[in-house]
Amino acid sequence: MAQFRTCPDTGLYFHKSAESLIKANAVVGAVFLLVAGILALLVTLTRWQAIHLLPADQFYMALTAHGIDALIFWIIFFEMAVLYVASSVLLRCRLATPYWGWVQFALMMVGSVMTNVAIFQGGSSVMMTSYVPMQAAPHFYLGLILFAVGALIGCFVFFGTLVVAKDEKTYEGSVPLVTFGAITAAIIAVFTIASGAIILVPTFLWSIGYISHIDAEMYRIIWWGLGHSSQQINVAAHVSIWYLIAGLVFGARPMSEKVSRAAFLLYIFFLQLASAHHILVDPGVSSEWKVFNTSYAMYLAVLASMIHGLTVPGSIEVAQRAKGLTNGMFEWLRKAPWDNPVFSGMFISLITFGFIGGITGVVMGTEQINLIIHNTIYVPAHFHATVVTGTTLAFMAITYFLIPVLFRRQMILPGLAKIQPYLFGGGMSILILFMLGAGTMGVSRRHWDMDFTGAALGFDYPGIAYTMMGIGAFGGVIGVLGGAAFLLVTVGSLLFGKKLEPSAGLLQSFGVPLAASCYSSTKPEILPMAPPLEHHDTTSFEAPGTFVLALLLLVSFVVYYFINWKYLASVWPLS
């Protein structure tokens, strides 16, 4: 019989097996964030030319591990937790096949440890992308494959839970929007993992000598089917979390279910094609293909993100105005709970993702503009705005909510928690903005030494490029401190926070069940539909402040976009 407990504070229901799995995945994810953060510090201090901390071999090893531990292991472990929350917890449903859930967890554990071992043994400093024909040790690829199989199983446990929920009628009407967003993420994940298998399995066979040759360009095209699409999983996941937090903190309801869901659907239809924007300056790929894939498809996905960019803050504004915060354009925003890290983390995530990550992404994903950006440090700057201040910060924000609810611990160091999103978001924004600048000056990514020590022929970057890398790295150090503050608060709370009834400790993170007494095998009440809205005036501007913000985004977007065309027009004619 499935065992459930209720959270006395929020009324959420937790299925025992789901609860353990959510905890285990989230905690292991956080451990990888810790590792990745330490490595980030080493990498950042090396790219700060005045400090230049690590020697070349260790720098490339650290950078390979940083990318993989952060972007793959931290993010995907946490996403497994998100999937289980979005299915089992939100739908008040027992998790389908918890046994397979533990297989997911075990495979991902084995895989992630195996790949880390390969990297730190030293023979696999091939970067996250592991472009052939540079070769890593076989267990580098094998670890990634096992990890991916684990993640795939997790997706199927998620889908299975949705089926069970429907079958056992645990909710009325349609699934909630957040669950819908998670479904989007899981569908994209299945596609992604398929691409991953198509390319990583042969690469593994090649590394043990069963296959003699892998075409380098084909590898790039298929690998990015994995590498890019997996970023769409992140986007779908963190947008779902934005909606969730808007609902939790403000009681906000989506401005329009139809619009928000349609926007998620656009992600499924179009985002996957956008892997082309990684190969815009590659040989053997035609312009038509590049333009179609990087744009037509991608811009409808961009459209989707622009829609969420309006409807997420818009729903908050509507909820705030309904509470009487109606003065001027922005009282609703000024009087938002800025000292609640659940909200501030979410809102900083929204702003940095949209204004920095989104705009720079579209600009450099433009076929011709990519010529002046490809493989410069501009690229990591862009994706730190998407996956760090965007996804990671959103995940941090929801963790602040989960600590008391899921782990039943009171948060320690609330003062530190209050400033943590600002520290992390602020520090990373400095890193991002200055690395964007340095990239525009041509500084390359994945590069140990911008002085080119030991090169037969040299080149001198302008002094300003050094300054930008220095200031950026300084911001990176602040960002790492912000990350450390997050781990201190959350892990500290798990260990030392005051227990709330019914309570769980760190051991529960690894599947040790809570005292049986707080569980019962009574099925949770059916999840009702949201209360109906009294009046809905479709002609009024319900969220004027948000509309102004959206126009501000658009203007920045247009200006910055055309500045880059102008810059492109100044380089040598090419055809």
């Binding site: 490339y60 390359s444 590069h447």
Partner: protein, 178 residues
């Protein structure tokens, strides 16, 4: 509230959408179309476009072409690397390998050349500085780009695709003279 609860209306897809969202979607859609049409527009009216010309090749074949050009047009040497000055309008070859760009090209300002790029081993990144033109160089592929250097000077070619421990020493040179 409804974000984590089933929608209030059972048939939520029939609930009319507010005017504000419709206006925003319309604006955003127009902007997306502009984003899209800028690329074909630039192919027709812009001057910076990559060609679609590329061939499959092998390190041996490509290396031979580079050598033939060097034999014919070598004008000097710098740090042990030949400097070649091929005639304006001709095909010029540049190879990337661990860890150098080879040879040094000496081009004339405002003249057009067909630049062939390939790699002898791993992937490399052709990053022409300070002008900041970046192209992926992939083994097995010979990419041809028609370039017209319109500013004289001495340029560095940084490798910006990670290619192993000596990656940071992989710097080449290119001259453009009046």
């Amino acid at each position: 509230m409804t974000s984590f609860m089933p929608p209030a209306d059972r048939i939520w897809w029939k609930v009319p959408v507010g005017r504000q969202e419709i206006i925003w979607i319309a604006i955003a859609l127009v902007w997306c179309l502009i984003l899209f049409f800028m690329m074909p527009y630039w192919h027709i009216y812009g001057k910076q476009n990559l060609s679609n010309e590329a061939y499959q090749t092998t390190p041996a074949k490509f290396g031979a072409k580079v050598q033939a050009m060097i034999d014919q047009y070598k004008v000097g040497e710098e740090a042990g690397i030949p400097i070649v000055k091929p005639p304006a309008g001709s095909d010029v070859y540049l190879l990337g390998r661990l860890w150098q760009w080879y040879p040094i090209l000496d081009l004339e300002k405002d003249k057009t050349y067909r630049l062939h790029l390939s790699s002898m081993d791993w992937q490399h990144g052709f990053s022409l500085q300070p002008i900041n033109i970046n192209i992926q160089v992939v083994p097995g592929y010979e990419m041809v780009i028609t370039v017209t250097p319109d500013q004289a000077g001495e340029y560095g070619i940084v490798c910006n695709e990670y290619c192993g421990i000596g990656h940071h020493t992989m710097v080449g040179k290119l001259y453009v003279k009046e």
